[in-house]
Symmetry: C2
Subunit: 359 residues, 2 copies
C-alpha cells in the first residue's frame, strides 16, 4: 500500500532535475511512499524513461515555471504561480499530498509553504531546523544534534523560543526514536542569569514545561560535543552558527593547500593528512543526512540542500515519509496545544503580544 | 629607555603566577617595556629569584587578594579592592602605568577596567575583540582576522556596531600595519537588506563613513576564509561564534578517538592523520597569539587567555607595549570623535538614545 504521498519539487536544486529523479527512484525502492514529481512534464518523463520502476509509485504533475537559486524568493513566489515549488506546496496545502520535499532555495520553499500550507493552530512561528554530526557524548545510536531556528526568523520572543523547543523535541523523539530528548538553549554562559532579559525569560519558561527534558543553557563550544539532542536559538544566531560550522568544515579541507604553499617541511605531514581530511569532510558534510525540516506547518516540509546528490534527495524523501508515518505534525500540534493551554503561560502569551506590537 | 610601563596581573590565569612571571621575563628580553607585577609580593619575589634580569625592568606591587576563575566577577570586583586585577586596573587608571595585561577571568578584567580606567569620550560601549587564524584569502603577511564584540555587550544599537567597526579598524591598522583594513558586518546574507532593521541601519551607517573601508556583510561561512580584516557583531553573536570555532577546533582533534572506537578500517588513516591533526590544532589554537584587546578605554587593556602559557603571556605583554607605542587608544579616540562630529550622524545619535531608553 502506497498510502503516503510525497510531493517532490523535481526542478529544485543545483544539480538539475535528473539528480532529483534518480533520488526519487532510490526512495521508492527502499520506502513505501508514492511520489508526485512536479515540474516540466517532458523533461521528467525523459529522465524517468531511463529507469525501471512500478508505475503506480510515481506520478508526474506538470509545472511550467521554475525558480532558480539566483531568483529573489519573494518576487518569484508571488509572480510565478506555476513554479514547481509553488505548485508542489499548493498540492500539499490542498491535501493531495502528505509532505513536500524540495532542494530549491530555502527562501522559495519557506515562502511557498507559508502561502499554501496552514500553520498548526497556536504555532506562532515556523522554524527551520538542521541536523549536524557531533562527538556524540550522549552515546546515542547515531551522532547527530538538532538545531533550530536556523533562519526562518531573525529574532523572536522568549515564548517563541519555547515553542521551537517543543517542536524540536517532538520531531527528534519521533524521527530518531529518542523518548525524552535533551533540550538546551544556546547562550553565552551556562547560568540561568546569562544572555539578557529575553534569554532569562526563555530559560524560565522552558524550565517550567514539565513535558520537556530541558537541561539548561549550552555555549558555542558545546555545540559539536553532542551533549544534548535539541539546541534552540533565534534564526539570526542559528544561521550564523550553522554557516560558521560549514565554513570550519571547508577550512579543514583547505588548510592543506595553504600549508603546502607556506612550508616545505609540512609536505610530508600533509600528504599523510589526506586520508584524514577526507574522513573529517565526510563526517562534517551534513548535507548527506537527509534535509532540513521546516517545523510548524500542518504538513511536513523537508528542504534538501541545494547541492544534494541523488542519495541525499532519496534520504530527504524517505525522511519525509517517516515523518508522515510517525505523525510528527500531529505530535507537534498536541504538544504546542498543551503548552499554550497551561495556565502558567497565560501571562507569557500577553508578554509575547506586547513584544510583537513593539517590534 | 623603558618609557612604556605595563601593569601585569601576576595572579591571573589558570596556570598560576609562575607562568605569568616567566612570560614577563620573556617579554622584557624582547621588548623595551617596564613591567609592574601586581600580586602576592613574596610569591612574586620567590618566582623572580629564579631568573637573571635587569632590576630596572621589573617592579613588584603588592596586592593581598586574588580573584579566581570560579569567583563571580561582579561580586569579587566589588568586594575585593585589593585583588591583583583590581589594583592593576587602578594603577593604570591613575596614570601610573600605560596598559593592563591580565590572564584572569574576562569578567573580572572587564569590570575592573570599567571601574578604574576612563572610557574614551564619545565611546558608548567598550568591546572585547579577538584574533583568530583564517585561510588568509586577502594574502596578508599574517593570516588573522579580528572579531568584535565577543562578549562585553549582549546587544547593542546600530551606531554602537559602527563604533566597534571604527575601533577595530584603528587597532588593526596600527597593530598589524594594514593601512586601510577591510571591515565587514556579520549577517545572515550579503545583501544590505538582510538581518532586520538594526542590521540594515548599521549597514547604512557604516557605508557612509568615508574614512572606513567597509566592504559590506559577510556570512558565517566566510569567517574563516580571511576575506576581511575586521568583523563586527553584537557580543551575544560574537561570543557564540568564537566559542563555536573553539569547539570545532577541539572536535577536529577528538574525531580521531571517536573513529578509533567505531571502525577498525579507519585505524591506519587515523594513524596517518596524527601529524595533520596536531598541525590543525596549532593553527586553530588562537590562544597562542597574544591576547584579546578590550577597546574603548583611554588605556590599552589586554585579556590573555586563562590557559595562557609563558609564551602567550609574553606575547600579550609585547602586544600591550606595541599598542602603547603605536598610540592605538589615541587613534581610536580621534576616529570616534570625527565620526560623532559628522552632521550625518546627528539623527543616529538621537536614535541610539531612543534605543537605550527603550531597552
Amino acid at each position: 500500500m502506497n498510502s503516503i504521498r510525497i510531493a517532490v519539487d523535481a526542478m529544485g536544486g543545483d544539480n538539475g532535475h535528473e539528480v532529483v529523479i534518480k533520488g526519487a527512484i532510490n526512495a521508492i525502492s527502499a520506502s513505501p511512499v508514492k511520489i508526485i514529481l512536479i515540474g516540466d512534464e517532458k523533461k521528467i518523463a525523459d529522465a524517468l524513461s531511463k529507469y525501471k520502476y512500478n508505475g503506480d509509485d510515481i506520478e508526474i504533475l506538470h509545472a511550467s515555471e521554475e525558480i532558480s537559486m539566483h531568483d529573489s524568493p519573494k518576487k518569484s513566489v508571488e509572480s510565478k504561480p506555476n513554479a514547481s515549488v509553488v505548485v508542489a506546496a499548493r498540492l500539499v496545502g490542498e491535501g493531495k499530498a502528505d509532505a513536500l520535499v524540495s532542494a530549491g532555495s530555502t527562501g522559495s520553499v519557506v515562502l511557498s509553504a507559508a502561502k499554501y500550507i496552514p500553520r498548526i493552530s497556536d504555532v506562532r512561528r515556523t522554524a527551520i531546523a538542521t541536523v549536524f554530526p557531533t562527538m556524540n557524548e550522549l552515546k546515542r545510536d547515531d551522532f547527530f544534534s538538532f538545531l533550530l531556528d536556523v533562519g526562518a526568523n531573525i529574532h523572536c520572543s522568549a515564548e517563541e523560543l519555547a515553542q521551537f523547543a517543543i517542536m524540536g523535541s517532538a520531531y527528534v523523539s519521533d524521527v530518531r526514536g529518542i523518548p525524552n530528548p535533551k533540550v538546551a538553549l544556546l547562550n553565552i554562559g551556562e547560568e540561568s542569569s546569562k544572555g539578557g532579559d529575553k534569554m532569562k525569560e526563555a530559560y524560565r519558561i522552558l524550565n517550567n514545561i514539565k513535558s520537556l527534558n530541558f537541561v539548561g543553557n549550552i555555549e558555542g563550544k558545546d555545540i559539536l560535543r553532542g551533549v544534548v539532542d535539541v539546541i534552540v536559538t533565534e534564526g539570526f544566531v542559528g544561521n550564523i552558527v550553522i554557516k560558521t560550522l560549514e565554513g570550519a568544515s571547508k577550512t579543514v579541507g583547505r588548510l592543506g593547500k595553504l600549508a603546502f604553499k607556506t612550508k616545505i617541511s609540512w609536505k610530508l605531514g600533509l600528504f599523510m593528512l589526506r586520508k584524514g581530511i577526507n574522513f573529517v569532510k565526510k563526517v562534517t558534510d551534513y548535507s548527506e543526512y537527509g534535509g532540513a525540516p521546516l517545523l510548524g506547518f500542518e504538513k511536513m516540509v523537508i528542504i534538501a540542500h541545494g547541492r544534494s546528490n541523488a542519495k541525499a534527495i532519496g534520504n530527504a524523501i524517505k525522511l519525509a515519509g517517516k515523518c508522515v508515518s510517525d505523525d510528527v505534525c500531529g505530535h507537534i500540534s498536541t504538544n504546542i496545544h498543551n503548552f499554550e493551554r497551561e495556565p502558567e503561560h497565560e501571562y507569557t502569551r500577553l508578554a509575547t503580544k506586547r513584544y510583537r506590537s513593539e517590534n
